[in-house]
């Protein structure tokens, strides 16, 4: 009868000295291009957290009334806010491009009897949804549609 796997089932009966050298982190680990891109991807989390709270502030102002909304919109004209939002826009585009490239690779080979579509199809679909939603949302917010 099969039992549940034990994580230490393959360990030697007596702990001994490993023949492999212990892993060491190179001093410049953060400076290699792959690591730098990976760290930048993680660092966009700071931007997402801040931009989320700025958006919450805007909607709280909208819930408060016309005066608060007007003041909140005017506050976004501060150069610090404009710079932050430009950085946010770059971050969001960077996350989208990197994540959409990784997404097809992260799909399981099958889910039950179903197989996911080929990678390029998933990749193209993600771009289509992203660009489509961005265009519709931008036109709606800018007063062109709806």
């Amino acid at each position: 009868m099969a039992g549940p796997a034990h994580p230490h089932s393959m360990a030697p009966p007596k702990p001994g000295r490993t023949r492999a050298a212990p892993p060491q982190m190179p001093a410049s680990w953060w400076n290699t291009s792959r690591m730098r891109t990976y760290l930048l991807f993680d660092a966009t989390g700071i931007i997402y957290l801040l931009v989320g709270f700025v958006a919450i502030r805007m909607i709280r102002a909208l819930a408060e009334g016309a005066g608060a909304w007007q003041a909140a919109m005017q506050s976004l004209e501060n150069p610090i806010y404009i710079g932050f939002h430009l950085l946010s826009l770059i971050s969001v585009i960077f996350v989208a491009v990197r994540f959409f490239r990784l997404f097809p690779k992260a799909q399981p080979p099958s889910i039950g009897p179903l197989k996911p579509p080929p990678g390029p199809v998933i990749h193209a679909a993600l771009y289509a949804v992203w660009i489509g939603v961005t265009v519709v949302m931008s036109l709606a917010l800018a007063g062109v549609i709806f």
């Binding site: 953060w30 760290l39 991807f41 993680d42 660092a43 966009t44 989390g45 700071i46 931007i47 997402y48 957290l49 801040l50 931009v51 989320g52 709270f53 700025v54 958006a55 919450i56 805007m58 909607i59 709280r60 909208l62 819930a63 009334g65 016309a66 909304w69 007007q70 919109m73 976004l76 004209e77 806010y81 404009i82 932050f84 939002h85 430009l86 946010s88 826009l89 969001v92 585009i93 996350v95 989208a96 994540f99 997404f103 949804v129 992203w130 939603v133 961005t134 265009v135 519709v136 949302m137 931008s138 709606a140 917010l141 800018a142 007063g143 709806f146």
Partner: protein, 125 residues
């Protein structure tokens, strides 16, 4: 704390995954228009005055589904979880995993509080 985070990992990963996918898709247009084009005067801010902004935010589909509020809730809540989880990951990379339990717990607490604030703001529209 670390044990609790491990137990909650499926939920944390779900919110993080939605944050990185749906959050990114929704944030792009919002930041572009509200954060950049309107403050720079490229798009007239009068096009998103209080009346119109409120109409958009409370728009419903077939008079039943509160589409505007659902989109706003996702826009406000999901990026917080992407942010919290990636900051946690960044701090593990630079500072090691010894304090991961308390740091991760604090970051997710910020995301939970922010999510509550965001949902309350959307419900209050």
């Amino acid at each position: 704390m670390k044990t609790l985070l491990l137990k909650l990992e499926p939920l944390i990963w779900f919110m993080f995954g939605q944050g990185i996918l749906i959050g990114t898709i929704l944030l792009t247009g919002w930041i572009l228009v509200v954060g950049v084009l309107m403050p720079l005067g490229i798009v007239d801010p009068a096009n998103l005055d209080y009346t119109r902004a409120h109409e958009l935010a409370t728009a419903s589909l077939f008079g039943v589904i509160p589409l505007g509020q659902l989109i706003l809730a996702a826009l406000l809540v999901l990026p917080l979880w992407k942010g919290a989880h990636h900051i946690r990951s960044l701090l593990v990379d630079f500072g090691g995993g010894e304090r991961d339990g308390i740091v991760g717990g604090l970051l997710y607490l910020v995301a939970i509080v922010g999510s509550g604030m965001g949902i309350a703001a959307v419900v209050g529209l």
